[in-house]
Symmetry: C2
Subunit: 159 residues, 2 copies
């Protein structure tokens, strides 16, 4: 695991971000995933081009890396993102079990060009009742069955 970031990889992530704007393909965000000193996957923001609200650069790169390695966990991998991951992307990096994160622009920079990253970090830390999108629990007593099935499954693949 590198203790200092590799400028070559970050410059590639930034170049992907700039190119994504120049071509009109999407937002100014790029990411590369590195393993053993080599890039194994790249991603750009393609929310508008692919009509997929989840298609941020990091998520796109994680999907590509999972595909390249044929597995759902990316132990041993580092991500270079041209911008600090939003909460969706940060949690995706955790679920992918990555080793380390490098970023260039910050969530405060993103706020300056009208992206919601900083807002989302504040929202997610709030209690349910104070969030902008209303959320409520229902049928709690009926839902445990699905978790009980998982707990008892002899064939499950934990992730």
């Amino acid at each position: 695991m590198s203790l200092s970031g590799n400028a070559e990889f970050m410059r590639r992530a930034i170049a992907l971000a700039s190119e994504n704007v120049r071509t009109g393909a999407g937002g100014p965000f790029g990411a590369v995933i590195v393993r053993d000193g080599s890039v194994i996957a790249e991603g750009v923001n393609c929310v508008t081009r692919t009509n997929d609200a989840t298609a941020h650069a990091e998520v796109t790169a994680i999907r590509a890396a999972c595909l390249a390695l044929g597995r759902f966990a990316l132990h041993g991998c580092e991500i270079y993102s041209s911008c600090e991951p939003c909460p969706m992307c940060l949690a995706a990096i955790y679920w992918a079990r990555m080793d380390r994160i490098w970023f260039a622009n910050t969530q405060a920079d993103a706020a300056r060009i009208d992206f919601d990253d900083a807002f989302l970090y504040r929202e997610i830390a709030l209690p349910l009742s104070e969030r902008a999108i209303p959320a409520a629990m229902m049928l709690h007593d009926e839902a445990w069955e699905s978790f009980q099935l998982w707990r008892e499954s002899p064939t499950k693949t934990p992730f």
Copy 2:
């Protein structure tokens, strides 16, 4: 926008979750997206089946709903998830501009069957320096160019 949840939709989400375990397809999570009183998309957790760390039920359902409607924003839609969305899925719901969230199992329930949802909520609220996955900024001065291009782009599609 409904002020109380529709039990039929939540029972469908729970049934999807249970069925996903019974068939061995993936984790105990299902979600349905509803618009004008009708289900427009469904999703199950397919992380292990598709080798995609980001393929949680809500993310899968959001992608399907975006595809069904041909747009990247889901204004007017509500999501019924068999479990409280993790931070990745919650932020995805925000990015998709959905109206409302209903859930059945909670992040505490998920912790009881060894899923990291509650841990992730705690992690994301921490300062960078205290998180389990190391994260650091680099080449900050070189990255603004991509944001400046976005700011000045006459052809961009905001999202």
